[in-house]
């Protein structure tokens, strides 16, 4: 690892300036569970690491009925899954945040870092997509909002411009009769990278027999996490039963364009995405009914 400068600004303006000064040679540091490993492994070289954890605004975790959930960019996974509101209203995010890494990693790793790292396998990203999360970004040219499904640009690449930082992730308040679930497949039971993952959300009608709308997002099967738009749309107005689930799961496979590597083969990944989506839909529907 080469020498670099470490700075820990106390406010967002300083952080943006410190980032912008060094352009591509500056990187943000949240929990460090991705970037420190990448730096040690020599994936890239930088001149400055900007620690964002000292910025109060970025540590905010709050909820209001009107504005939904705000997860500051420096909020660790453990804070997210220990939060009662998250447990109640954002079950998919709860699922993914609580299975990332192990207990030590969850104490450090942030949801924002998971998103910014933009790994195809990032487990929180599909959960965020199916709960219609929006990334709030600030940079030298001010603030902008980006839908999470448009945030990742390729393996390890996101749409942030030089000097821009993620400030928070904002997730709207779900309507009644809402359910969500996240599943991934790993060969071990922890400390592993998803061979495939799938997050789903469903909104049922008041009879709880029909699906008003649904969202399916999958990971580890394409250069970025993918919002399976067509498969999701198929469920609109459908009966919440096995036939609809099977049909949507099958259609989800079409959204996958995986590669062969040491972690899994193309066939295996496409197959698993179908299995996981089917299973996640079953749970999401029953959660919506219980909800």
């Amino acid at each position: 690892m080469q020498e670099f400068e470490y700075v820990a600004p106390a406010n967002l303006e300083d952080a943006i300036r410190l980032m912008a000064e060094k352009g591509p040679r500056a990187k943000a540091l949240a929990g460090g569970t991705d970037i420190l490993i990448q730096l040690r492994g020599g994936r890239f070289q930088i001149d400055r690491l900007v620690d964002i954890k000292k910025i109060p605004e970025l540590n905010e975790l709050s909820f209001s009925e009107a504005n939904g959930l705000t997860v500051g960019a420096a909020v660790e996974c453990y804070r997210v899954y220990e939060d009662q509101t998250v447990q109640k209203l954002y079950p998919g995010l709860f699922d993914s945040a609580s299975l990332i890494g192990g207990i030590q990693i969850q104490g450090r790793a942030t949801v924002g870092g998971n998103l910014c790292n933009a790994a195809p396998s990032g487990d929180n990203i599909p959960s965020l997509i199916v709960q219609e999360a929006v990334a709030i970004v600030a940079g030298p040219n001010g603030r902008r909002n980006i839908s999470v499904e448009d945030f990742c640009a390729g393996p390890g690449r996101n749409v942030l411009q030089e000097g821009e930082l993620l400030v928070a992730i904002h997730i709207p308040t779900p309507k009644p009769n809402f359910g969500a679930h996240f599943l991934r497949f790993i060969p071990r039971n922890e400390m592993d990278i998803a061979i495939a993952n799938s997050a789903v959300s469903v909104l049922l009608d008041d009879s709880k027999q029909h699906i008003v709308s649904a969202r399916i997002a999958i990971g580890s099967v394409a250069p970025t996490p993918v919002f399976a738009r067509e498969a999701s749309a198929l469920l609109t107005g459908k009966e919440a039963n096995e036939a609809s689930i099977e049909e949507a799961a099958e259609a989800t496979k079409a959204a996958a364009s995986p590669i062969n590597d040491m972690r899994g083969t193309i066939d295996q990944r496409i197959h698993l995405v179908g299995v996981l989506t089917k299973r996640a839909l079953r749970t999401a529907i029953s959660r919506a009914r219980e909800g």
Binding site: M1, F185, P187, R188, I193, I195, D261, Q268, H271
Partner: protein, 768 residues
């Protein structure tokens, strides 16, 4: 749950200390973080060494230009193979092995033979500068075709790794073999024969033939290699290192650097796992050379990636089995072809596989051909029961399938053919007093074996693992008696597994002391007699015997002191239950402690040393039963229940016997289900991290129940056998048998990963 079953009549309660569970002597230091491991050395003026490794799996080194690296501020020295005297002194003859070959693996000379092969080393004022300097070393490679595995290596017209390697043929174990003169990637071919297999197969009613494959896997010790060397100018060389054998390191370093052993001191650090892999060193001669060049101590610590890519894993194998039996289960013949990948240089554990594969059974007609094959992968090193697990995976999977074909219970088939004392194995050596049948009887009778599986997609697998263990290499021990009646025990046996406490307990048993009254220490090469490395399941046995012998000398000498005080002859003093008694006047008694307090006034300290050179811990059997459930949609294996059985002769400290049984089982599970080196076609390991090299985590394992079987070993005063190796053998076939039964497809290739299971299920469904 733990059970201990005594198979040797009359032993329960025989011992006061052995079989109890005292707190281990090194426990507090380890749990408080005070214990010092390989990377914990820090010295004034110390520099940091880093190794440049080959990016190619096979290439000729045309030239190495180190000038830019040397010019980087902070860099103090650069070393290459030119700095290793043994390499300069003579050409490599890969068939000969020895320190010349080791040197070539420490710093490549003319050729690199695997991705990760060391080519140069840098010493600098910080590890980061050293790393930066590596990038400035210019190596001009002529890249050669990659010979990635046994298949490519054994092909007609294959690219040869070594210009001067010729195939040796041997028909006896341990023989030097005759040189066929054929240039080949096959370094040696061992053929062992008994009876006539053709005749045997004619007598069979059922014959099974199958090929079994396994991949390169690593021991996965958590502590990477680490050492610090200080070579005083014109003076002695001291090396602090994490190793399984300090005397082996001393001998190799002396030979590689061409200096006398008397100029070298090797100091053992606590070891964070070795499993055989740390029987070989890599860094010590390099650190020494850098220290000599700079006049500073040099510390070198490998990264996990270096451990995977640059140190010895265990062999990938391909094993064919043909086995025939009569209707009643009598095995009439077995023929095996066993190919073991040695990696870059000869020396796979093929012999271990050939000699153990079917040796737990009495089979009259056996023919086994073993091949040691070089290819462009790291040079393999030992891993618990070297070569045995791969062999057992093949043989014990075959037995499982054969049992099915015969409509027999798999344990019944084994018991029908189990070898008894005096039966000859294919090695020609008759079986000693080993409890093969005794262990199998216990397994068959265990409630786990007949418990209902209770659900679909479930399977139970059973297998045994026989560690054929022979010679010991020698162990020394010294005991000093302290005035307060305690003793200090000094050995040269690196403690990988709780051997300090297990040996101290044998001394305590002999001297009538408690385990706590014996203080065991592992010391450096200057401070104890020559002792072979910690391997071959021999330490508790060999070093134990040396320590018992030293304790007996202590009793003798202390008895003589008592005789002096009582004014009788030494023969008139007896030592009974920890008390010295005068047979002339039985009122004259000293406890060990009382007498110890009088030593300084009766002739000075008592210090006794002894050596054990006989060794011969002998073979032993272990076995596993697994219940698994397979998710047919994902191929994931869930282990529902696991029981491991092991014959220990007599447990010294049962907790550490259980630790070995559970540890071996979990390593075997990893090997069976997920672990493998995943190579790109260019020979680059794509998964050189613990994230992608999938060893089991605690969440992947059920409680591993242990059944300790004590069938006393007549070769040891207290009946001990080894425990370190045989528990890793049976888990591979037992797991393969369990999964195969759960999904109804025979899984003959490891690892049995979820992807492989999915494919097998899919194939089965489409063939229906």
């Amino acid at each position: 749950m733990t059970t201990t079953i005594d198979k040797t009549a009359g032993t329960p309660g025989k011992y006061k200390v052995l079989g109890t569970r005292p707190v281990r002597h090194d426990g507090i230091e380890k749990v408080t973080g005070a214990a010092r491991y390989g990377a914990d050395m820090n010295m004034p003026e110390m520099l940091h060494g880093k190794i440049l490794r080959s990016p190619h799996a096979h290439a000729r080194i045309r030239s190495i230009d180190t000038s830019k690296a040397e010019a980087l501020p902070g860099v103090m020295a650069v070393a290459t193979s030119k700095d290793l005297p043994i390499i300069q002194a003579r050409e490599l003859n890969p068939g000969q092995g020895g320190p010349r070959l080791l040197a070539e693996n420490d710093l490549a000379d003319k050729k690199v033979l695997y991705k990760g092969h060391a080519v140069a080393a840098v010493a600098a004022t910080s590890p980061h500068i050293a790393e930066e300097a590596l990038a400035l070393i210019a190596v001009d490679y002529e890249v050669l075709p990659t010979v990635l595995g046994w298949r490519e290596a054994m092909k007609e017209g294959a690219t040869l790794l070594h210009d001067n390697l010729t195939e040796k043929f041997s028909a006896t174990r341990g023989g030097a073999g005759e040189d066929t003169g054929n240039k080949s990637n096959v370094a040696s071919h061992l053929q062992l024969k008994m009876g006539n297999v053709e005749q045997g197969f004619k007598e069979a009613d059922t014959i099974l033939e199958r090929e079994y494959n396994t991949q390169t896997i690593h021991q996965g010790y958590i502590e990477p290699f680490a050492c610090t060397a200080q070579w005083i100018p014109e003076g002695r060389l001291t090396i602090w290192t994490s190793t399984q054998g300090i005397f082996g390191v001393r001998g190799n370093v002396a030979a590689i650097l061409n200096i006398p052993e008397s100029m070298i001191k090797i100091v053992p650090m606590e070891i964070g796992g070795g499993f055989g892999g740390k029987g070989t060193g890599y860094l010590e001669p390099v650190a020494a050379v850098l220290s000599k060049k700079t006049g500073h101590p040099i510390k070198m610590v490998m990264s996990r990636k270096e451990v995977f890519e640059g140190t010895g894993p265990s062999s990938g194998t391909s094993i064919t089995v043909k086995i025939g039996a009569k209707k009643d289960g009598t095995i009439t013949a077995a023929q095996l072809g066993m190919i073991y990948e040695a990696g870059a240089y000869p020396g796979s554990p093929m012999v271990g596989g050939v000699t153990s594969a079917v040796s737990a059974y009495k089979i009259d007609n056996v023919l086994i051909d073993g091949y040691d094959v070089v290819c462009n992968k790291p040079k393999t090193a030992a891993y618990r029961a070297p070569g045995h697990p791969q062999a057992a995976f093949a043989a014990e999977s075959a037995l499982d399938e054969l049992a099915d074909m015969l409509g027999m219970d798999p344990m019944d088939l084994r018991l029908k053919n189990v070898a008894m004392e005096g039966d000859r194995a294919v090695t020609g050596v008759p079986h000693a007093h080993v409890g093969l049948k005794e262990v199998m009887d216990v397994m068959k009778a265990h409630p786990h074996y007949t418990a209902p599986l209770g659900g679909p997609n479930r399977g139970r697998g059973v297998a045994t693992g026989y560690r054929l263990n022979g010679g010991g290499s020698g162990s020394s021990a010294t005991i000093n008696v302290l005035a307060n009646g305690t003793v200090n025990l000094t050995t040269g046996s690196m403690d990988l597994s709780g051997t300090r406490v297990a040996i101290a307990m044998q001394v305590a048993e002999t001297l009538g002391l408690t385990a706590e009254e014996v203080t065991p220490q592992v010391v450096d090469t200057d401070s104890v007699g020559w002792t072979g490395g910690s391997g071959g399941s021999r330490i508790t046995f060999d070093t134990g015997r040396a320590s018992i012998a030293a304790a007996q000398l202590v009793i003798e000498q202390m008895g003589a002191r008592a005789a002096r005080l009582w004014e009788v002859q030494p023969e008139d003093v007896e030592f009974v239950d920890g008390i010295f008694i005068c047979t002339k006047n039985t009122d004259d008694k000293f406890t060990f402690k009382e007498l110890a307090g009088k030593l300084m006034t009766t002739g000075g300290p008592v210090t006794c040393s002894a050596m054990d050179t006989q060794g011969g811990v002998g073979g032993a059997l272990a076995g596993n039963i697994f219940d698994v459930e397979v998710d047919p949609e994902t191929g994931k294996v869930d282990i529902l229940r696991s029981t491991v059985f092991l014959d220990i002769g007599q447990a010294a400290h049962p907790s550490y016997v259980e630790g070995q049984m559970q540890g071996g089982t979990l390593q075997g599970i990893g090997w069976a289900l997920n672990e493998e080196y995943f190579f790109t076609p260019e020979g680059v390991m794509a998964n050189s991290s613990l994230l992608d090299y999938r060893m089991p985590t605690s969440l992947d394992l059920p409680m591993i129940d242990t059944v300790i079987i004590e069938y006393a070993n007549p070769r040891h005063p207290y009946g001990l056998r080894g425990a370190g190796e045989h528990p890793i053998i049976a888990p591979l076939p037992a797991m393969a048998n369990a999964v195969s039964r759960a999904i109804g497809v025979r899984m003959a290739t490891l690892p049995i990963s979820p992807g492989a299971i999915l494919e097998a299920i899919e194939k089965k469904n489409t063939n229906k």
